[in-house]
């Protein structure tokens, strides 16, 4: 088997371990402490923010405009409306701001 295939298989196993690992650890405990539960409830906002913040900081006016518009639309509209509005602003702004 080629090295490439080994890398793919090992990478797939490593990824699956991360996707099941947290559950395997947590499920060993009978009761979940309220503080642990508070931590788990914070997971979505905590992780997803790290996927936005550095990217936003390193971006320019076109990207900032897109994020601001998307953020405002998300206060009222659904995920799809937010996404399309942000993407539209981004493409338009890049035509002018590069």
């Amino acid at each position: 088997m080629s090295t490439t295939l080994w890398i793919i298989i090992a990478g797939a196993i490593a990824t699956y371990l991360t996707r099941i690992g947290g559950h395997l650890v947590i499920s060993r405990f009978e009761n979940i402490h309220p503080r642990v539960e508070a931590g788990l409830n914070a997971v979505p906002a905590a992780v997803l923010t790290t996927l936005v913040a550095p990217a936003a900081l390193g971006a320019g006016p076109a990207e900032w405009a897109a994020l601001i518009v998307a953020g405002l639309v998300s206060l009222r509209g659904g995920l799809m409306a937010m996404f399309l509005a942000g993407a539209a602003v981004l493409v338009l702004a890049r035509q002018f701001a590069g």
């Binding site: 490439t4 490593a14 699956y16 979505p44 998307a70 953020g71 996404f83």
Partner: protein, 242 residues
């Protein structure tokens, strides 16, 4: 008989409800799947290998990092370690989602964890937050289209990669941050949302500038989660629950 027919109909409509919710994810991930296929072939993968990596790893950012290192002829174990590091955030996802899908049969859970990506986790978590049960049919409706399109488009990108026009002008490189911002916003009703977002943003930016990518994701995430753990429980609203 009747009860069975009703529950089968129910599963079907749950599935299609999930499919509807998957559409923004399918749209947002399409450019990256095509791009991944194109870069993979550029960096020495065959079309089949690009297809296999998407089908088996199914994690966009980690595939990009892996393929980038592969092109630079880095040691294989280091490539695998990098894929692991980029995907390490999924440990937190699986710890969180385990509470929502523990009632499924084991095989279904095993499949469920395999397709546990960022949007899959966020959208499922939102459903649970609304007090609804996260069922297997709904969850697969949400995840299966994303998976099928991701794998197919990776292969298409690998075959037709050279045909993609200017990706910058099309905004492709910044679509995911926009989508993730929308997901962050969708959790704004949760207790401690703002302090957690601020802590994670600051920590991830500092880590990005000092330690570097991809560790800023894990470091920023841990900062936000730790803050929620440390602050008194009554702030988090956990105690208020029956």
């Amino acid at each position: 008989m009747l009860a069975e027919a009703i529950s089968e109909n129910r599963a079907k409509s749950d599935f299609w409800q999930g499919v509807r919710l998957s559409m923004p994810v399918v749209v947002a991930s399409a450019p990256f799947a095509l791009l991944f296929g194109a870069i993979a072939v550029d960096n020495g993968f065959s079309v089949l290998e690009a297809f296999l990596m998407s089908a088996m790893v199914f994690g966009g950012a980690s595939q990009m990092v892996g393929i980038e290192l592969f092109g630079q002829h880095v040691a294989p174990w280091l490539i695998v370690l990098s894929i692991f590091a980029v995907n390490f955030r999924h440990v937190l996802y699986s710890a969180g989602i385990g509470r929502r899908i523990a009632h499924w049969p084991l095989v279904q859970q095993a499949v469920g964890y395999f397709i546990l990506t960022d949007p899959q986790f966020a959208v499922a978590e939102r459903k649970a937050e609304a007090g609804e049960t996260v069922g297997f049919a709904w969850y697969m409706g949400l995840g299966l289209p994303v998976y099928v399109f991701w794998v197919t488009e990776s292969a298409l990108g690998a075959v037709f990669g050279k045909l993609i026009p200017d990706t910058h002008a099309l905004g492709i490189d910044f679509l995911l941050p926009i989508y993730f911002l929308g997901l962050v916003m969708s959790f704004r009703k949760r207790p401690l949302w703002l302090p957690v977002v601020v802590a994670s943003a600051v920590a991830s930016i500092i880590a990005y500038k000092t330690v570097g990518s991809p560790w800023h994701v894990s470091i920023g995430a841990v900062a936000g989660v730790l803050l929620a753990v440390i602050l008194p429980p009554h702030h988090s609203g956990v105690e208020a629950r029956p």
